[in-house]
């Protein structure tokens, strides 16, 4: 990767990004949305409950959900234009004739895309201090939650970069990245739902819950919504959706990080103008 700050693409990209007013608008809007939701929620709690203490966990669920939704929308979009944007601006070919290797181009693009996402995440961290104001949340839970966000950002970033390399136009690559992202976030949940019903229908052994079947547990462990709710210890979807294994988040992290690496390698391969798989 080379030295981070002397990496030409990264410094160019940061310069480009932080000189446009669009960037400050994005950060501002993002913080505004997060803040508005929290204040709205605090009003609701204040209205229905006299005792505010201990309701920090409810606030955390709302905030995490909002955050996660924003990551799902912003991260793929940021990355999905990274390579196709260069192609559309007709700067990609020039870039490919320099000494920057396709692998380095892909990695730098990935880094700058997720860097911006992390900036958003860190900028909104002070909002989480409200949660401690209300109490009821363990710090370890927050750490796990941020780890969870990080894995998601990396995955959506790699997915966006891959689509951006694979598909010529930014608009179509963004839609494709959203589509594939949707499959992992919602699609795996739907598959799990059908499999669960299928199993409870055919197997009458009542001592077994669906999560006793490894395959279901695995699918559950790669569905970000279920994993997220498990981290927050909220069973919004009923007992049967709770994963009992302690290692679900390791499965989740490993699965998405490996997938991200594969996507980035594929992207670097596709980007290579003259492909010669048998050498180098």
């Amino acid at each position: 990767m080379g030295n981070f700050f002397t990496n030409p693409l990264i410094s160019k990209e940061l310069r480009e990004r932080f000189r446009t007013p669009k960037t400050s608008w994005t950060v501002g809007l993002y913080l505004f949305v997060c803040g508005a939701i929290i204040i709205g929620f605090m009003k609701i709690i204040a209205n229905e409950q006299t005792d505010l203490l201990g309701s920090g966990d409810r606030l955390l669920v709302i905030m995490a959900a909002v955050h996660y939704a924003l990551i799902c929308f912003i991260a793929p979009a940021l990355a999905a234009g990274a390579i196709s944007g260069e192609r559309e601006r007709q700067t990609l070919n020039i870039l490919l004739t320099t000494h920057l290797s396709p692998r380095r181009i892909v990695l730098s693009k990935m880094l700058t895309s997720i860097l911006f996402m992390f900036l958003l995440l860190i900028a909104s961290m002070p909002l989480y201090s409200f949660i401690f104001l209300y109490g009821g949340v363990a710090p370890m839970q927050l750490v796990k939650l941020f780890l969870f966000f990080t894995v998601n950002i990396i995955f959506f970033g790699s997915l966006g970069i891959f689509c951006s390399t694979w598909i010529k136009r930014t608009s179509i690559s963004t839609i494709t990245a959203y589509g594939i992202g949707f499959f992992f976030v919602v699609g795996t949940g739907v598959i799990l739902f059908f499999l669960m019903n299928f199993i409870t229908y055919w197997i009458t052994d009542t001592r077994m819950t669906p999560m006793d079947y490894p395959i279901l547990e695995w699918i559950a462990s790669i569905n970000p919504c279920i994993v997220g709710l498990n981290i927050l210890e909220k069973n919004l979807m009923g007992e049967s959706w709770t994963i009992f294994s302690q290692y679900y988040w390791i499965i989740f992290t490993a699965f998405y990080l490996v997938l991200s690496v594969i996507l980035l390698c594929l992207a670097a391969y596709i980007l290579k103008p003259v492909r010669r798989p048998w050498s180098e």
Partner: protein, 308 residues
Amino acid sequence: MIQTHDLTKRYGKFEALNSVNLSIEKGKVYGFIGPNGAGKTTTMMILSTLLSASSGKAYVGGYDVEKEPKDVRHILGYMPDFFGVYDNLKATEYLDFYASAYNIPQKNRSALIADLLELVNLSNKADSYVDHLSRGMKQRLGLARCLVHSPEVLILDEPASGLDPRARIEMREILKKLQGLGKTILISSHILPELAELCDEIGVIEKGRLIASGSVPEVSVDTRGISIMQVKVIGREEVAEQILSSDPLVRRVDNKGNHFRFHYIGSPEEKVYLLQKLIAAEVPVTHFADSQENLEDVFLAITEGVGN
């Protein structure tokens, strides 16, 4: 410096390049001429390691473009026919970015960039944002960009297209400077006069085939035995036109009042006979000569009948 052997490129069934054999010596400026869609860009992209050929070989500086692309990129500067610049970057930052992309040490860059901007007459625009420059300036900045790693070979795809006459002249002056620096340059154009005085050799490409290659006079006379002639008279224009039009060796008479241009496919002896005929008819001829200053004519003559 640049060589291709039977270079062929197919897009599906369509043959964009058909057995092109180029050979350009070190320090020469080679003009690559052909109408739109002839295959100039395709050839240049293969040479710049951006496209793989369907068959055939291509070498730049002795390196195989397919097997040793990194070595080729070291010695090659490529300027595409259309290219964009980044928003929110100043001219110096733009060049600095590419200099760092070519691993040029930071401490050498500012002097290098100043020199390059000087070379392309953009010193006064050093701190302007590149997306605000005019097309001619962007084009010159692009040329400076492909010089950052001081490549020996330059491949310039239609560097003057879309420029106004003044910008074109400026571009030509810069190219002459580069020629003076001993760079080997492959430059393409679909407009010939642009390249006329600049090129040591030209190659004419049409429908993916290199149909002529060599020095300008060689190409014009030798390849097809066609020469372009100019005749000027100061009277009896109708008689002159009638004689020219009825001569079986004369083609495509272009009558501009008292100034005729035409293709002549005869031998020098037959040319003498043509002149004698004009004089015998008492046409006051002031000029009777081969025209070589206009490459457009050469091009028309050479491509005549190709592909029909």
